[in-house]
C-alpha cells in the first residue's frame, strides 16, 4: 500500500504548478498501523432509531442498494481525476480503501421509514492522546424520516495522534438529515474526515461543519444528488492558526432535476496557517431546473498565511443556474477604527470578528452545552 495517500481530488484538473489538484496525506503506513477505535458516547436513541455494529460485508450490501450514480464518463478530453468509487466520498478512493483495510466493523445508524425525530441525537467520539484511532459509520435514513444528528470529534487540548473518520449516508425518498460535525481535537492531531452521501428524490442533507483544531486536517464531502428535487446545504467554517494546515474538498454532483445545492464557507487564517478549499458545483446532464450556489469568506489575520481557494462550476445542462463567489481579505480598517472609537482595541475587535465568522455555523448546531464548549474551545485557541 502507498505511504502517501492522494486525497480531495478536484473533479477536473488544473495547472499542476498551483498544487491544488489534490491533497497529500503523508506517512499513511504509520498513521493507520495498529489503529484503535475512538471512545464513543451516544445519547439515548429515540424510538425508531437504532445504532449497531455490522460487518463490512453487510455495510457493502446496504451501500449497493443505495440509489446509483451513473457510470462516470469521459467528457471530451477531460478525464475524471480520480477513479470512481462504488460509493463516492470527498476524500476519495485511496483513503476509503485504506480505512476499510483497518476497520473491521462499521457502525450503522438507521432511522425507520416515516420516523420523524425532533430532539437531536448526540454522537461523540473521543480520540486518545498519542494514539491512532479510526472509525467508520453508515447512516441510513428511511423514506419520509427525519433526524438531527450531532457528531463531535475531540481530545485533550494538547493531545496528538491520528483521528480517521468516514461516514457514508443514504437518504431515501423524502428523508431529511440535519447533520453537524464539530472537530475540536488537540493541536498535535492529524484529522481525516470523509463523507459521502446519496440523496434520493426530495431528500435533503443539511451539513453544519466546524473544523476548529488539529495540526493537519483533511476534510472531504461528496453529495450524489441523484433524486429529483434533492437538496444539499453546507454551512462550514474553519479556524486554522499557527502552523496548522487544512485541506478541504466539497463536491456536489447535481444529477436529478430541480436539485438545490447551497454551500457557504467561513474561515479564519492566522499565523503561518495553510489552507486549501476546493468547492465544486457539478451540473450533470438531466439536472434541468437545478440551482447551485457557493460562497466563501476568508478572514486573514497574518501576513504569513497561505490561502488557496478554487470554487468550480462544471456544467453540461443548459437549464440551470450556478453561482459562486469569494471574498478574501483582512479586517476592514474602517471597522477597526469605528470599534476603536467605541473603546474596543484591535485585538478585541479581531476576536469579535472571529466569533462572528464562526458563529454563523455554531448557531446552527443544537445543544446549549455543546455551543458553550465550542465557544470555550475557540476562546482557548485565540
Amino acid at each position: 500500500m502507498q505511504n502517501t495517500l492522494e486525497l480531495n481530488h478536484l473533479p477536473v484538473l488544473t495547472w499542476n504548478k498551483l498544487k491544488m489538484n489534490s491533497g497529500k496525506l503523508t506517512g499513511a503506513d504509520a498513521l493507520f498501523a495498529a489503529a484503535a477505535e475512538p471512545e464513543e458516547t451516544l445519547s439515548d436513541l429515540p424510538q425508531g432509531v437504532s445504532c449497531r455494529s455490522v460487518s463490512r460485508e453487510a455495510a457493502a450490501r446496504l451501500l449497493a442498494a443505495a440509489p446509483k450514480q451513473e457510470a462516470e464518463r469521459v467528457v471530451a478530453g477531460k478525464v475524471p481525476a480520480y477513479h470512481p468509487q462504488t460509493f463516492a466520498t470527498g476524500l476519495g478512493q485511496e483513503y476509503d480503501e485504506r480505512l476499510a483495510s483497518v476497520c473491521s466493523r462499521v457502525r450503522l445508524m438507521e432511522v425507520g421509514a416515516g420516523v420523524s425525530i425532533e430532539e437531536p441525537v448526540f454522537w461523540s467520539m473521543g480520540f486518545p492522546d498519542g494514539k491512532h484511532a479510526v472509525t467508520e459509520q453508515m447512516i441510513h435514513v428511511g423514506a419520509g424520516a427525519s433526524l438531527t444528528l450531532i457528531m463531535d470529534f475531540r481530545s485533550g487540548p494538547a493531545a496528538s495522534g491520528f483521528a480517521g473518520v468516514s461516514t457514508k449516508i443514504i437518504l431515501e425518498k423524502e428523508a431529511k438529515l440535519n447533520l453537524s460535525r464539530v472537530q475540536m481535537l488537540g493541536g498535535g492531531f492529524v484529522h481525516a474526515d470523509d463523507l459521502g452521501v446519496s440523496l434520493a428524490e426530495r431528500s435533503a442533507l443539511t451539513l453544519n461543519q466546524m473544523e476548529l483544531g488539529g495540526q493537519k486536517s483533511f476534510v472531504g464531502a461528496q453529495a450524489e444528488m441523484i433524486g429529483n428535487e434533492s437538496a444539499f446545504c453546507v454551512r462550514a467554517c474553519y479556524l486554522t492558526l499557527g502552523g496548522e494546515e487544512a485541506d478541504m474538498n466539497y463536491n456536489a454532483v447535481q444529477r436529478g432535476r430541480k436539485t438545490d445545492c447551497r454551500m457557504s464557507f467561513d474561515g479564519v487564517l492566522g499565523g503561518r496557517a495553510k489552507k486549501t478549499l476546493r468547492g465544486t458545483i457539478d451540473f450533470r446532464g438531466g439536472s434541468a431546473g437545478s440551482v447551485g450556489d457557493e460562497q466563501e469568506n476568508v478572514l486573514l489575520l497574518s501576513n504569513d498565511i497561505e490561502n488557496k481557494s478554487i470554487p468550480m462550476i462544471l456544467c453540461e445542462e443548459e437549464d440551470v443556474e450556478g453561482r459562486h463567489g469569494a471574498t478574501i481579505g483582512r479586517l476592514d480598517e474602517g471597522l477597526l477604527f469605528y470599534l476603536g472609537t467605541r473603546g474596543i482595541d484591535a485585538r478585541a475587535a479581531q476576536e469579535m470578528m472571529v466569533y462572528a465568522r464562526l458563529g454563523t455555523v455554531a448557531r446552527e448546531i443544537h445543544g446549549e452545552e455543546l455551543q458553550r464548549q465550542i465557544n470555550d474551545y475557540i476562546r482557548s485557541r485565540l
Binding site: T14, L300, N303, P311, G325, G329
Partner: protein, 465 residues
C-alpha cells in the same frame, strides 16, 4: 418557450485556400536536423541556433499537459514546422505577390491599414510578407519590424536581452517547442514618453495544410509610453491538424500603458497552444482584450506579472465554442508589487456540443501588500449538448489583500425574451440582442471596426434558423 435553432459561424470569409506551389516547406516532424535547418534558413546568429537546440531538448523532456483538453489528435511527426512563401518581406502591398495580397485584401488588412492603423505586419505561414509603419509614427522613434530583422539589426542586443526571458522554454512543453522552431512575428519598441495614438496591427494567416505557425511577438513599451497593439489570425479549414504555438512577450515599463487586443478566428482543425505574458513595472498599466472564436482546441491564458508597485492589469475576454471546439481559455494575474490591482472580466458562450472552459489563477504574493484583485466570469449555455466549466484558482499569501471573485452560469432567460417580445421584438431578435448584450463588455473595448465585426459574427450566429 420554443427554442431557436442556432447555426454555426459562417466561416466562408476565412476558408479560402491558396496554392502552395513555389513555397519552401520543411519536412514534417521535429528533429535536431530540422531545427538546425530552420536556423540556417533564417540566418540565425549562432546564439539563437544554440538556443533552439536547447529548447528542443527541453521539449523532449517535458510532458504533455494532463489537465486540459485532449491534444491526442496532434501528431508532431505530421506537422511541418516551417513553410516559407515565395516572397521576401515587402514594404508596400503592391510588391506582395498577387495571390497572397488577395488573401489579405479579402481579410480587409490593407483597407484597415489605410483607414485606422499606425502600422501593419502581415505574416503568411512562417514568414512576414509585409511590414510597414506610418512615417509620422516612425519619426517618433517607434520601431515596428519583423523579429528576424530586429535580431540582426540595430536592436539585436535588446532582442537578446528580452527574447524568451518572460516565457522561458522550461515553462511548458509548447513554450519549448516554440523556442525550438519559432519563425516570424513582430518586434515593437516604443521609446520613453511616446504615445502612439492609433493602433499597430499584426495579422497571422496560416495557409499551409498540416503546418505549424510559431510567430514570436516582442513588445517593449518604455517608461511613460503608450501603445495599442492588435493581433488577428485566421486559417482555412483542412481535414488534418494544424498547429499554432505562438509566443507573446510584453514589457510595460514604469508609468507606461499597453493595450493588447486579439481577435482569434483560427479554423476548426487548429490546435491553438499559444502563450502570452506581460511584465508590468511601477505604475504601468496592461490591458488585454481577447476574443476567441476559432480553433479546434485552444489553451490560452494571457498572464500578467504585476511586479512594479502600483501597477494595474485588466483582462476582458470572450470565448465562443461551437460544434467540435474545446476552448480552454482564461487569464492569470500574479501580484508581487505593492498596491497592485487587477480585474478579470470573462464571458463564454457555448453551443452545438462546444466545450468552453474558463480557467484562471490570481496569485497574491507575500510582498504584494495592499493588492486588490477582482474576478468576474459569466457563462451562457445555449443548449444541453454543450459544456461549460469554470475553474478559477485563487492564492493569497498576505493578509493585506482584498480579493473578490464572482461567477455565474446559466441560459438565456425566458423572462428577458418574453419582456422584449412584449415590446414588439421578434424572438430571434430578442435572443440576438441578449447575446450581444452579454458580449458587450468585450466589444466596447475593441476599436469600432473590430467591435462591429464581432457583433456581426454574433448576429449571424443567432439568425440561423
Amino acid at each position: 418557450m420554443a427554442k431557436q435553432q442556432i447555426d454555426e459561424l459562417d466561416r466562408s470569409l476565412y476558408d479560402f485556400k491558396d496554392d502552395e506551389s513555389g513555397f519552401y516547406r520543411i519536412e514534417d516532424g521535429l528533429t535536431k536536423e530540422i531545427v538546425r535547418q530552420i536556423s540556417e534558413e533564417k540566418h540565425d546568429p549562432e546564439w539563437m541556433c544554440e538556443f533552439r537546440l536547447r529548447a528542443l531538448k527541453t521539449y523532449h523532456e517535458l510532458s504533455v499537459p494532463d489537465w486540459g483538453p485532449s491534444i491526442d489528435g496532434l501528431d508532431m511527426n505530421s506537422i511541418a514546422t516551417y513553410v516559407r512563401p515565395n516572397t521576401d518581406m515587402k514594404g508596400s502591398w503592391e510588391e506582395v505577390p498577387e495571390d497572397i495580397k488577395n488573401t489579405f485584401e479579402k481579410l480587409g488588412i490593407p483597407q484597415a491599414e489605410r483607414e485606422s492603423l499606425a502600422g501593419v505586419g502581415a505574416q503568411y505561414d512562417s514568414e512576414l510578407v509585409y511590414h510597414n509603419v506610418r512615417e509620422e509614427v516612425a519619426a517618433q522613434g517607434v520601431v515596428y519590424t519583423d523579429l528576424e530583422s530586429a535580431l540582426t539589426g540595430d536592436y539585436r542586443d535588446m532582442v537578446k536581452e528580452y527574447f524568451m526571458k518572460l516565457v522561458p522554454v522550461t515553462d511548458h512543453k509548447f513554450a519549448a517547442l516554440h523556442g525550438a522552431v519559432w519563425s516570424g512575428g513582430s518586434f515593437v519598441y516604443v521609446p520613453k514618453g511616446v504615445k502612439v495614438d492609433i493602433p499597430l496591427q499584426s495579422y497571422f494567416r496560416l495557409n499551409a495544410k498540416g503546418a505549424g505557425q510559431f510567430e514570436h511577438t516582442l513588445i517593449i513599451v518604455d517608461e511613460g509610453a503608450d501603445l495599442h497593439f492588435i493581433e488577428g489570425c485566421s486559417a482555412p479549414k483542412y481535414n488534418v491538424a494544424n498547429l499554432h504555438a505562438g509566443c507573446v512577450e510584453l514589457y510595460v515599463k514604469k508609468g507606461a500603458r499597453l493595450r493588447y487586443s486579439t481577435i482569434e478566428n483560427w479554423s476548426k482543425n487548429m490546435y491553438n497552444l499559444n502563450t502570452k505574458r506581460a511584465l508590468v513595472e511601477e505604475g504601468g498599466i496592461m490591458e488585454w482584450v481577447s476574443g476567441s472564436f476559432g480553433s479546434h482546441v485552444s489553451y490560452l491564458y494571457p498572464t500578467t506579472i504585476l511586479k512594479g508597485d502600483g501597477s494595474h492589469a485588466e483582462f476582458t475576454g470572450i470565448t465562443f465554442a461551437g460544434s467540435g471546439q474545446n476552448l480552454d481559455t482564461g487569464a492569470k494575474m500574479i501580484h508581487t508589487g505593492k498596491r497592485t490591482s487587477s480585474y478579470i472580466d470573462s464571458k463564454s458562450i457555448c453551443k452545438s456540443g462546444g466545450i468552453s472552459t474558463y480557467r484562471s489563477s490570481v496569485v497574491i504574493g507575500r510582498s504584494a501588500e495592499g493588492a486588490k484583485a477582482s474576478v468576474s466570469c459569466a457563462s451562457l449555455m445555449l443548449d444541453s449538448q454543450s459544456r461549460s466549466d469554470t475553474v478559477p484558482a485563487i492564492i493569497v499569501n498576505t493578509s493585506d489583500a482584498d480579493v473578490g471573485h464572482e461567477a455565474k452560469i446559466g441560459r438565456i432567460s425566458d423572462e428577458a425574451v418574453f419582456y422584449l417580445m412584449s415590446r414588439g421584438i421578434t424572438e430571434a431578435d430578442a435572443r440576438a440582442m441578449i447575446v450581444s448584450g452579454f458580449a458587450n463588455p468585450v466589444s466596447k473595448e475593441l476599436p469600432l471596426e473590430y467591435a462591429a465585426e464581432m457583433n456581426n459574427l454574433i448576429k449571424l450566429e443567432m439568425e440561423g434558423g
